[in-house]
């Protein structure tokens, strides 16, 4: 009890250290810039997966619309970068130079007012977090104070993903439509497409991921973390212990949205564009599976889940493109039916005891109800 209240138990320190070593040393050493950039992209999904651990694993709130927040964060970043790329010199060929190319193609002759603030990097960075959070807050207030939960919540968030996708595609003069916002080049004059930039962005991404992981760890270790688990198991009891359950759900949903938004922004920076295919239902559900594969109760597991599934996707689809969907589908089913706690659960059940035996000590305590994760 005393130890579990500490921010990091000994085994968790080891787990974080191992992940840090993997992200900051092993991957950069082992991979060329191209592959490293790919792993950087995978890691942006880890932001979403960590948020889902809090929402779904701890709080029991399954959102099938995390792509919405990932997308909103990514679009906010992309809007800034697009404006920077659309200098009058770069766009001289257009009928209206100085506005993004897709606006010109759609007969817009001036930058819409709501695009204007995105000329400022500070505003854009704020928006990356604030816009998803505001959206999540509105959805959260509407749903949680009405006590919508479980599968209903899942389906309605899915509907949001569908709505936003149709809107983005339909309003292409303002959003770039189905193509998304493409051809992003520089960040305050710094070319983000060079190999050097990609490496730097990879490290920035890693640092941000750790910031998010620490934030998530703090929440989990706080009383709020225990409350989430309590709510998942006995929502009424929490309510009759004097808590306004809705507020906590809204908070954790917004937190997950903020994480997803940051991930989306990093995606835009590393991949160089943002498109509605990252907003819709399919990517949203895939993000859930990253979390499930890693272990829905383990924040570190979620990171490994995002890495492993995406790496498998890339590898499989390079070698056996036709088998990839079978593999992914099978993975979904296997994780749900055989390994509900994902990689973290497998580690806790099969690997940790051996390590413990090896070192002749306990693998350490962990999050209540959680399978032991690589961290724990």
């Amino acid at each position: 009890m005393e130890t579990s209240n500490r921010f990091l138990s000994r085994s968790e320190i080891i787990g974080f250290a191992v992940l840090a070593a993997v992200i900051f040393i092993v991957l950069p050493v082992a991979l060329d810039t191209f592959r490293l950039n790919l792993f950087g992209k995978y890691l942006t999904y880890a932001f979403v997966a960590v948020g889902l651990v809090l929402c779904w694993g701890a709080g029991g709130i399954l959102s099938l619309g995390q792509g919405v927040f990932f997308g909103l964060g990514g679009y906010c970043m992309a809007m800034f970068l697009k404006l920077e790329a659309s200098t009058p010199e770069n766009t001289a060929i257009q009928s209206t130079p100085g506005i993004p190319d897709f606006m010109d193609w759609n007969q817009l002759t001036a930058l819409p007012a709501w695009w204007q603030p995105f000329n400022s990097l500070a505003f854009a960075l704020l928006a990356v977090v604030a816009v998803p959070v505001i959206f999540a807050f509105i959805i959260g207030v509407a749903m949680f104070t009405r006590r919508v939960g479980g599968v209903y919540f899942a389906i309605i968030t899915q509907a949001f993903a569908a709505i936003l996708t149709i809107l983005i595609i339909g309003q292409q003069g303002y959003t770039g439509g189905v193509n998304g916002i493409t051809d992003l080049r520089t960040l305050l004059g710094w070319d983000i497409r060079t190999d050097e930039a990609k490496e730097i962005l990879y490290y920035v991404n890693g640092v941000l991921l750790f910031a998010v992981l620490f934030a998530a760890q703090y929440v989990r270790k706080s009383k709020l973390g225990r409350l989430l688990i309590a709510m998942r198991d006995q929502e009424d009891r929490v309510r009759f212990s004097g808590y306004n359950v809705a507020n906590f759900k809204i908070f954790v949903f917004c937190l997950g949205a903020a994480f997803a938004g940051i991930g989306g922004a990093m995606f835009t920076l590393q991949v160089g564009f943002m498109s509605p295919t990252l907003v819709g239902i399919v990517p949203s559900i895939e993000m859930v599976i990253f979390c499930a594969v890693g272990g829905r109760l383990s924040i570190l597991g979620a990171v490994y889940g995002a890495l492993v599934v995406n790496w498998a996707k890339t590898t499989f689809s390079e070698s056996f493109p036709e088998l990839w969907l079978l593999g992914l589908g099978g993975l979904f089913i296997a994780v749900v039916m055989a390994f509900p706690n994902g990689l973290a659960g497998v580690y806790a059940e099969h690997v940790a005891p051996r390590i413990a035996k090896l070192f002749n000590k306990s693998a350490g305590d962990d999050m209540p109800g959680a399978a032991k994760t690589p961290a724990e």
Binding site: S222, R226, I229, R237, V238, G242, F251
Partner: protein
């Protein structure tokens, strides 16, 4: 709206709830005095649990009034009702099985109940001392680090009672606190209840007449959502209407 009468902690008047036309509780009125232990009995389906649900806000009433120390509870949210000083124990023990006994009690500690309060809540010495104290009261001081899932049925009931005690409510509502307990546990629970009802008002739903006799100040008999009889245990037991309802069953 009922005018508050300082002689009563809780005034229930004209309370009615209807589910698709079926009136589970029908124009029910009763009054609870300070430090009273009121036991509600009645056959299955009489609406006992529904009455508690209505008071603590779990079910929304169709009409009527529930006045607690001058506050109208029917218009308040569950957590506000708790903060007003009403505690509720459910029929089936509802504790957080994935958390330890200590954590179960800690979550009920009346501090840090807002989002940011919960984020910044510190497990300081007064908190630990208070939890220790409650744990002793409910016979679980040796099991503080045990996950609640591993407790016996009776111990879970105690834990839930402990979670209420730590809130120090003025009105405590217990739904069948000794259901499913062994004889020894039952005895211990009666002892526990007798101790904790000393300085607060209590509403208990119970079937076990021996137990009821042990603790009740007054008894209310519910039948089809209405008061059938009310008074001391002795009076109620001799009420012919009560006898008929129970024998009729």
């Amino acid at each position: 709206m009922t005018v508050h009468n300082p002689n009563f902690v809780l005034m229930v008047e004209g309370l009615t709830v209807s589910f698709d036309g079926f009136k589970a509780v029908n124009d029910l009125s009763f009054y609870v005095e300070p430090n009273e232990c009121r036991v509600i009995i009645g056959p299955n389906g009489a609406g006992k649990t529904t009455v508690l649900d209505l008071i603590c806000g779990r079910t929304k009433a169709t009409s009527g009034s529930v006045n607690f120390k001058g506050q109208e509870l029917l218009s308040m949210r569950e957590d506000q009702i708790v903060h007003a000083g009403v505690g509720r124990k459910f029929q089936t023990p509802s504790v957080y099985e994935d958390l330890t006994v200590f954590e179960n009690l800690e979550l009920s500690y009346p501090k840090g109940h807002g989002v940011f309060g919960a984020l910044t809540f510190r497990r300081d010495d007064p908190v630990k001392a208070r939890i220790k104290e409650i744990a002793e009261t409910i016979f679980l001081d040796d099991q503080l680090d045990e996950k609640a899932a591993y407790l016996s049925h009776g111990q879970k009931q105690w834990l839930e009672i402990g979670m209420l005690l730590i809130q120090d409510p003025e009105l405590l509502m217990l739904d069948e606190p000794v259901a499913g307990m062994s004889v020894a546990e039952r005895k211990k629970t009666a002892e526990l209840l007798n101790r904790i009802i000393q300085d607060r008002s209590v509403i208990v739903i119970e079937h076990d007449m021996g137990f009821v006799e042990d603790i009740a100040t007054r008894v209310t008999v519910l039948h089809q959502g209405k008061t059938l009889s009310e008074g001391s245990m002795e009076r109620v037991q001799n009420d012919p209407k009560v006898v008929e309802v129970y024998l009729g069953h």
